[in-house]
Amino acid sequence: METILLQLLNGLDKGSAYALIALGLTLIFGTLGVVNFAHGALFMIGAFCAVTLSRLLNLSFETVDPTRTDFLGNPLKVKTPYVEAWFGPDFGHALIDWSVPLAILFSIPIMIAVGFIMERGLIKHFYKRPHADQILVTFGLAIVLQEVIKYVYGANPISTPAPDAFKGSFDFGALLGFDPNLIIYPYWRLIYFGFAAVVIGAVFSFLQFTTFGMVVRAGMADRETVGLLGINIDRRFTLMFGLAAAVAGMAGVMYAPILSPNYHMGMDFLVLSFVVVVVGGMGSLPGAVAAGFLLGILESFASMNWIKDIIPGIDQIIIYVVAIVILLTRPRGLMGRKGVMEE
């Protein structure tokens, strides 16, 4: 029972990341009709926004401490962050400690700008091209972006910890009447799950309850007719690309303490997120979210030792097996709409 509860929590957590990326992917596909293979790179850039802000806040000046020596035997140069000198040691330290949550604010304008440049600068030229061309160009773009990140930040993962206040784990077991320390779950992962729920809710509310969202939804259903009404749907779709980039970026920022950012983390998530979109149904936002959580939980359960003892390697293939079964029984995915990618 405890194992099942723990793996369920794990699955919800993984599912949150899949759902956030898949949400952006399907938003772009539903509005612009583009299969964006560079979307994982946006997640990765988001994580590196957290790294960048952390490094900016850690920018330091050096003072020489003659009482200590460095590895070459020279007097040690002690680094003091500028923020600690400017705002006092306590507040400066708190700013550095809270760099990941602060990076959300830092990342939103950057990600919208990256999304805007990506869409206006490259992807819009491929709207009328076949999906194969779109996949090739966005895949190429993803590789370029990850190589740029590797050039700037190096190939090794970079530790980006959560604030001290969120280190440690929450004892679920004690709450549910189990023995203490039996079902514990890290605070930051719980926050990630809550954060994902808020972002997903906000995106749905935006599309459902605002005039802008209504026009976008109308454009997704029938772009031509909305255009004939004199509405510049392309501009709105570009903004949606920026929004999708911001969602992926924020997902990346918050994931940085869970997985030390590295240049290929986007590619690792991209393939699974695509499976999520296809299983959920191309262009279906609720489908992407539902499939994200479903596959995250299934993947988590398949990692249980007794299941792997029965079917070795099942944790590696479960998502693809489920995808095949769902596509065979429901060819449009769980919540796919008729006519999407079927012409």
């Binding site: 405890e2 590895f71 190096g154 090794n156 784990s169 997985l259 590295n262 988590s300």
Partner: protein, 446 residues
């Protein structure tokens, strides 16, 4: 419609000319050269095959820095580094056998096929007489096999699997770096002394040659001291989030988690384990402990604070105070501004050892080099007295047991040496079962 005037006779004639053309280089080389890529001019070319892209690119960059430093020192430039402390005085700072050392580089990408292709290109196109480098056992085994076939020497870089000098050993291949067995033999007594002999270990293991041999070595060494192995779970390479592998540990009565992971996997699995509160847990009335048998300082940076207090082993560390280590750290640190990694150290030493073997043999002939290195004992290169054992071409030297430092003074000061395990304690018989199944074979001069 274009008309072609191909005839059977013309095709045969063209084929014969092309065939003769293709055979020409081999016809000449077989007569003119005594062995593959015999250096004929005033220079000798070495091939540095390191990961310049892919997940181990930073480690590869550090290896390359060390190689460049070694070339400088061999050619008599710079401060000479460990040439000044090396027990052999055959090298005079005038290149190798009077030939200026030149080098070419290849990118292994940490992929066996790419590593073989770049090594092949350096041998065939650039005339490299020796190949060295790498940051993965899969790559080392693949390139070692290629060098054996091509008739050049392979001086392995960072490779820790038992197989490199075990079932996959080759006469033309040599490893200075330590191996998984040695990690187990060095670590187990320290673990028993600090954590007691009544412990239950849970292994998470990277699912490839290095992970398997390390798991086997550590489990055997700890079980010999009374520990029980509760479970051995294989994890896919690059799993990313290890939470679903960590949570089952909470459900067992294991009180030690052994992470047979390297690189990004090590960073992620250790970070996840700490996040799940394993280090704060009490099991069987004992403090839960995590062990990372193979530590790398470059990788440890990615794990940040999570490595504090974690025990592991390493081949070399810049904080060692022997003359050789200090000379190398001074050379490297002055040139690049930071201390070298263990990967840089082993690559630098391998280059010097090759050059020295050529100088002592008086020839670049791979078979003469093999003879000079086999059974060779040396000192002054940072690991104390060391033997290149003839039976398997493995170096036997002291092994360092290290621990993540609690209060680092700089971004490089991440590990502290807690014990230097003497070479005798990590030495095993050449026919040890963990290394069985292969044969060195005959040296190949091409």
């Amino acid at each position: 419609m274009t008309k072609t005037d191909l005839t059977r006779r013309r095709v045969l004639k063209s084929g014969a000319v092309a065939g003769a053309g293709l055979a020409l280089p081999t016809m000449f080389t077989s007569g003119a050269y005594a062995f593959t890529n015999e250096p004929m001019g005033g220079t000798v070319t070495l091939g540095f095959n390191v990961p310049q892209s892919g997940p181990y690119a930073d480690e590869g960059a550090d290896e390359l820095r060390a190689y460049q430093l070694a070339v400088e020192h061999l050619n008599g430039e710079g401060d000479g580094g460990m040439l000044n402390t090396f027990s052999s005085k055959a090298l005079e700072g005038n290149g190798i056998l009077g030939k200026k050392v030149d080098y070419v580089t290849g990118d292994t990408q940490t992929k066996s096929d790419a590593a073989r292709a770049s090594a092949k290109s350096m041998i065939e196109k650039d005339g490299a007489v020796m190949i060295t480098g790498g940051s993965s056992s899969g790559v080392a085994v693949a390139v070692q096999g290629l060098c054996q076939e091509a008739g050049v020497i392979f001086m392995a870089g960072l490779t820790h699997s038992n197989d490199t000098t075990g079932k996959d050993k080759k006469a033309n291949g040599f490893r200075h770096f330590f191996n998984a067995y040695m990690s187990g033999a060095a670590l187990a007594p320290v673990l028993a002394a600090r954590y007691g002999t009544d412990r239950k270990a849970y292994h998470l293991t990277a699912d490839y040659t290095w992970g398997w041999t390390q798991e086997e070595s550590i489990a055997a060494a700890t079980e010999a001291l009374g520990w029980q192995t509760v479970n051995k779970v294989r994890t896919p390479l690059g799993a990313g989030d290890f939470s679903s592998y960590i949570t089952p540990v909470l459900q067992t009565d294991a009180d030690v988690l052994i992470l047979n992971h390297y690189g990004g996997d090590m960073v992620n699995s250790l970070t996840n384990a700490v996040q799940f509160g394993l280090r704060d847990k009490m099991v069987n009335g004992k403090q839960f402990e995590i062990v990372v048998p193979l530590f790398s300082r470059l990788m440890a940076r990615g794990a940040g604070e999570n490595i504090k207090g974690i025990l592991g082993s390493t081949n070399w560390h810049w904080s060692l105070t022997d003359e050789g280590s200090q000379a190398f750290v001074k050379s490297f640190g002055t040139k690049y501004g930071f201390p070298p990694s263990q990967a840089a150290h082993t690559c630098y030493v391998q280059t010097l050892l090759y050059a020295d073997a050529v100088a002592r043999a008086g020839s670049f002939n791979p078979c003469a080099v093999v003879e000079a290195l086999e059974g060779y004992e040396f000192d002054g290169l940072g690991n104390g007295p060391t033997l290149y054992r003839a039976e398997d071409h493995q170096c036997f030297k002291d092994v360092l047991v290290v621990r993540g430092k609690e209060n680092p003074t700089s971004e490089f000061d991440l590990l502290e040496v807690v014990e230097i395990t003497p070479a005798a304690q990590v030495t095993y018989a050449p026919d040890h079962p963990m290394f069985a199944g292969g044969a060195l074979g005959e040296c190949n001069a091409g």
